[in-house]
């Protein structure tokens, strides 16, 4: 309890943390693709600056909502279409930031009743580890989740096993265990509704929530 209070005090991306941890509704995997901004006006530099700034605002909002691919696309558009603007100057850093956040919060998935790390999950965790090494003050909450099959109580334990499997993999890559906290939500916070293999596959997962640190 004490530790989570301390973490709450140093939260720097509160919106992101709330979106990923508190809400029982499934978090959208992908937002609607953002329509591209209108082509640059010919020569008016004040107007160019304003248009680029609007795109930068949209990119920031996309980062806040966890839609990193849209943020990247918008920022790359600014680099291409609005060179020389303030927004374009900050775009490379913002793209790196979006990529770091995307890597940190990327989910991993599991087979039915299992908590073993697949090759695909291992690649995701390795990328996470790189970002964690670059941002030394970042701390993560690792959530374990199960699909609806199996009993409620069994799924609580299974979710914990999945969270701990991710933790164990990350510490085996040399990261300090004190940077992570594990929780299980069992079958109670599904990402996808429905009783289909497709929904179950999405729901058997570990999620990663940034609990502390600045990106």
């Amino acid at each position: 309890m004490q530790r989570s209070h301390k973490w709450a005090a140093v939260l720097v991306i509160p919106l992101l943390a709330v979106a990923c941890s508190g809400n029982p509704e499934p978090v959208p995997v992908q937002a609607e693709p953002a329509p591209m901004a209108p082509p640059p006006p010919p020569d008016d530099s004040a107007e160019r600056e304003a248009a680029a700034s609007r795109i930068c605002d949209r990119a920031s909002a996309a980062i806040q909502s966890g839609d990193y691919s849209t943020a990247r696309e918008l920022l790359q558009q600014v680099l291409r279409d609005y060179p020389g603007t303030t927004c374009a100057a900050s775009a490379p850093d913002q793209i790196a930031r979006a990529e770091a956040l995307e890597a940190l919060t990327a989910r991993i998935h599991f087979e039915f009743n299992l908590a073993s790390i697949s090759d695909q999950a291992a690649a995701i965790l390795q990328r996470k580890a790189e970002v964690l090494r670059a941002y030394g003050d970042v701390q993560l909450t690792i959530e374990g989740h199960a699909d609806e099959r199996g009993s409620l109580e069994y799924n609580q334990a299974l979710g914990m096993r999945r969270a701990r499997a991710a933790l164990q993999y990350l510490t085996s890559l040399g990261l300090d265990a004190s940077r992570f906290r594990v929780v299980t939500f069992g079958e109670e916070r599904p990402l996808a509704r429905g009783s289909t293999e497709g929904a179950w596959r999405q729901n058997r997962r570990s999620e990663f929530v940034i609990a502390a640190g600045e990106i």
Partner: protein
Amino acid sequence: MHFQGIEWSSIFTLIQVDANADITSEWRAALLRMTMMGKSRGSARSIGAVLGLLAVPALGHAQESAGGVRLGISYEPGYVPALVVAPVASGAGLEAIADAAGTILETDLDFSDRFDIIALPDTFPSNGPPNYALWNQLGAVWLVTADISGSATSPILRVSLHDTVYGQLKNVQAFSLPQLTADGFRMAIHRASDQIVSWATDGQRGIAATRIAFRRRGGDGTSALFVVDSDGENLRRIPTGGQSVYSPAFSPDGSRIAYTTQNESGTFSLLETNLITESRRTISTSELIQTPAYTPDGRLGYAEISGDGVEVFLEGTGRLTDTRGDALNPTFSPDGRRFAFEADPTNQPQVYVQDVSGGSPRRISVYVRRERTNAVGPDWSPSGDRIAYAAISGSGFQVFTVNPDGTDRRMLTSRGESEAPSWAPDGRHLVFSSADSQGHALWILDTVTGRSRVLTSSRQDELPDWSPALPTGS
């Protein structure tokens, strides 16, 4: 309460006049006709109740499979004596109490599933000494008479059980009741009902004066702890302080409930609420602590994260299990020497039995490699002879019972998905949650007759635990 198809008013007049006279041949015929109608109504009702949840009786005792599971529904209904509750007599001003008491007594004795209840019309006369021959002609083996005396603020219920076959009073007892509107009124009548069951069955335990605790999901991802009387009345919420609540378990004396909660940040707590004083205490807080269960001497067993997985612990003793997978859901034998639990060393949870003092666990559920045969949530019967659990059969969980040594496995449900069975203190009734497309409801099943009924119908209820016989003052 009326027999269908009977011209009741004419018979009623006759009985009113002749209640204590010899049975004359002309209305003996009328009573026999009535008795037959009553009987067929009773059986129709029982069969209907079973059909509501379970497979058709035609399944009967089905074949043994290779794994030793007796597939299909198997019950052993025996002789069920007919019982009639005569209208409860009362002094002036106590009629409402008498009516309420009569209704509760009759429902309780029906829900005991030990009697075939003969219903009487509401207007049946309640005066005069019992005419055993008349009741015997009606088909009743047992007759319950009762009266209310005293005052509205401190009424006294006197109940008598009569054996109509031998024409004698079996037993009689008086019970002080709280006033009709008081919280404890129904529970006081339930105690009288359980006394009647005990008299009629040479000391068997009734289930009327018991409660069931369970978890109810809210629409917003939260869940709460509720307690309801075994007849479905008197539903109340127990404050827990947690965002979600899981796995309630009654203490052996019925005065306390242990359960776990999870807060917004995901941390689990093991708590205990005293139902009499309504005080609450936190026993432990952890990344994962779950599935509490009391030993017969009142110590708490539970599962908690330990190393890489969850293991079973016992207050005052320490860790009881050492499995390669998660071990949870302990349930203790009535002598306190053994416990059953679920564990999944094969990535398929199965039910095991182990000595509390140590030794290796013995599997009592059926494991089939590469099939989903998950067996979870064991509950050891208070009579000691059976363990109930839920296991996947076909598409979903169904309720099974088995001897503690793994023999004589029986499947008790077959439709929908039924899980989390918990034994009543009589060792023959089970409460469990049963799911359909609209959610989970709680059902009660008599494992002897196969009769079942819905306890709660909110469609949000699960993880029930049946209390022991409750102490006075509950």
